[in-house]
Amino acid sequence: MRLLKNGEFASDDWTVLSEDDVLPLNGDVIVCFDRLMRDYAQLKAHDGRIAVSFPNDCAVEDLDDYLDILDKVVLTFPVFTDGRAYSQARQLRQQFAFEGEIQASGNVLPDQLAFMRQCGFDVFLVNGRFDAEQWQKAATSMTLTYQNGYLPERGFAPADVWKRREVKSNDQLRSDFEEVWTA
């Protein structure tokens, strides 16, 4: 498995801790939600970044009290047709103003990458079946989106049709549009 970030493969320096693994002196760690609740104080003092692996059948509002120490939330797609984590990511970004990384894990496929990015995911744990180019191609095959407020903040972003329509004259629309398309 490899981490995909900003359209490229990145090194994965995170250590996944099980419920009872000893917390190392330093380094970036991923813990489950139960451990996050249990060891909150200890984790808060930890020298290194903290991530939680959060199941897709729990409410993200339960994370609210812990977001201050979290650098990353790992959400999961047990199968790619189980779309709960899209809403979880959306809520984290829009309603709980979470600004750390949101990572997709599980059954992550190129044809769903664009949707995930629009909902707020920015890191993807993927298998080696597809190369970086295949991921990028699938993620950028649609350059437009009709939904308001579903734009990824970093990297490639589709054009927001409704906003562009209202602020631009037709000529501006056209040139703007060519720009988006050829970018």
Partner: protein, 551 residues
């Protein structure tokens, strides 16, 4: 009607390019069938009994003449010369080859059409009143909201992998012709005490194996809050809808299990937390869209047309058709023409390339270039001057399409059933044909009065049998086709689910069973009492007795 701007064009073209690439990857083996299937479904491509099937979205059932001609061309060039109009106001092709489908989607894009989200666990094509914008009883044309919903739901990043499919129906009139109470979400326009038009939001209606009438989630919602509110409903469903059992995955089950009260509380909580941050953008977009739905420039006409009255006096068939198939229009001197696709012995909803072209021609000459598809599988010309009705009728009559049975016994809904559908447990179409032959006499149909017969070939209920006055459901009984009859369903503003009358019948027995039900009704009906009114007054017993007592 709505016209694409360059963004809409670009969006659909990118989507067809993407699908072309996905088809290439499937044919080369880069994608497995398991991976490809959800992708093809989200582009409207099913695999049916004999071949692939392509379901093309007709957004809220509105078509222009050039679009209808393109549909006719596709039927001719890529299919077998016909298409099937469905209860979802869409059109289906039964024989396309996968390798041709990217070209077909390109041809659709040329006329601002697509097949996006006509399948899959996403928000499906939005449906509405087939008389939207012209019905005499309407508060406002619901199609601007429908178009806004079409755009908003297209490739929605959050709601494309829902627990199950999701259908939204909208109506802008007090009389519900869009069956909003049997959809996942129904939107019904009302005025509040201040006279402002807004939306009642219903949710959790549906047919299938657990038919349910929707509950009202909000009595009245200002239009500006509609999209954020729908997002809240969708999000509660996406997070909490069941995913362990596909038969329990629709929103109706979630609402049933939570209770309407608790569901409402969760939606309101989510709505409050998410807020309405982008409503200004949405309102301006809605205003932009609404301008496209301005009515055509109506001529200043007297409501009574002498030509029309004279023509009726001179031709009994025309007069009958005008009485049965022509509906009252908002504008004086205009009429709504309903074209029944239910000839005796025909296949409900099927239209040939020639028929589609004829209707396109007529709409161009007489109906401001517009055509509607109805959820009862018929067509509508929405803007016909009364003085042109005779000419329209004559052209339809020459083509065998002046079938004066709208809303009557011969106007039967039938899903494709086992003649085409891979999921079917029995055939539907032959049952419709048998009944239509038995009751071919129009005089008899008029005597019986308004009546809906709907037939489904399996429990998925695409033929809307649950909400028919007389519903027929095909089942498999030890390898033989069997048919259950339900009575008392309705899909209007007083929607109800029909009740099973008793043991089923073989296909050959169905027409006689219908005959007995009709005879019973005629014997006990009150003065000008319709079938449904009689059933609601007397209940199932007299009908049961007629069908089963002597057996």
């Amino acid at each position: 009607m709505y016209r694409y701007d360059e963004f809409d064009h670009r969006f659909v073209r990118e989507r067809t390019t993407q699908f072309r690439d996905q088809v290439t990857r499937r044919l080369s083996g880069e994608l497995t069938e398991d991976e490809f299937k959800p992708l093809r479904l989200m582009n409207g491509v099913y695999l049916q009994l004999h071949a692939y099937m392509l379901r093309v979205a007709v957004p809220y059932g509105t078509l222009s003449a050039p679009q209808m001609r393109q549909l006719a061309m596709i039927a001719e060039r890529y299919d077998r010369g016909y298409g099937h109009f469905t209860t979802r106001q869409n059109i289906q092709y039964n024989w396309p080859a996968l390798k041709d489908l990217p070209d077909v989607l390109d041809h659709l894009a040329e006329v601002e059409m697509h097949a996006i989200q006509t399948s899959g666990n996403c928000i499906r094509n939005v449906t509405t009143d087939q008389w939207a914008g012209v019905a005499a009883d309407e508060i406002a044309d619901p199609r601007p909201i429908c178009e806004l919903l079409r755009q908003w739901s297209s490739l929605h990043p959050e709601f494309s992998f829902l627990p199950r499919k999701f259908k939204i129906a909208v109506t802008g009139a007090p009389q519900d012709r869009a069956a909003v109470a049997v959809h996942d979400i129904g939107l019904h326009m009302h005025r509040n005490a201040d006279g402002e038009a807004g939306w009642e939001v219903l949710a959790g209606g549906g047919q299938g194996r657990t038919p349910m009438i929707a509950v009202t989630v909000r009595d009245w919602l200002p239009e500006r809050e509609l999209l954020p509110y729908l997002e809240a409903v969708m999000r509660v469903y996406n997070l909490h809808g069941r995913r362990d059992n596909k038969y329990k995955a629709r929103i109706k089950i979630l609402i049933h299990e939570l209770g309407a009260e608790e569901f409402r509380r969760q939606v309101e909580e989510e709505f409050a937390r998410a807020g309405t941050p982008e409503v200004e953008v949405e309102q301006r977009e809605l205003a932009r869209i609404a301008a496209y739905f301005a009515p055509p420039a109506y001529e200043d006409l007297q409501d009574v047309s002498t030509e029309f009255e004279l023509a009726k006096n001179g031709n009994r068939d025309f007069a009958n058709w005008a009485k049965i198939n022509v509906a009252e229009h908002k504008a004086p001197g205009y009429a709504i023409v309903n074209i029944s696709l239910k000839p005796v012995d025909g296949i409900p909803g099927d239209a040939t390339t020639e028929e589609m072209n004829l209707v396109a021609d007529l709409s161009e000459r007489y109906s401001a270039n517009e055509i509607r598809i109805t959820h009862r599988q018929n067509l509508v010309l929405p803007y016909v001057r009364k003085r042109d009705l005779f000419a329209v009728w004559s052209a339809l009559n020459d083509a065998g399409l002046a079938i004066a049975n709208l809303g009557h016994l011969g106007d039967i809904i039938a899903c494709p059933g086992m003649d085409y559908c891979a999921l079917a447990t029995a055939r539907s179409i032959p049952i419709a044909q048998d009944i239509s032959r038995k009751f071919a006499d129009l005089k008899r149909q008029y005597d019986v009065g308004p009546l809906t017969i709907n037939i489904s070939g399996c429990i998925n209920a695409c033929g809307h049998h649950h909400v028919a006055h007389i519903g027929i459901l095909g089942v498999d009984k030890k390898g033989k086709e069997f048919y259950q009859i339900t009575l008392g369903g309705a899909s209007d503003e007083n929607a109800s689910i029909g009740k099973i009358l008793g043991p089923g019948f073989s296909g050959e027995e169905v027409p006689d069973a219908i005959e007995k039900i009709i005879e019973t009704y005629i014997a006990i009906r009150g003065e000008s009492e319709t079938f449904l009114q009689t059933y609601r007054r007397v209940g199932a017993d007299p009908f049961k007795e007629a069908l089963y007592a002597t057996a």
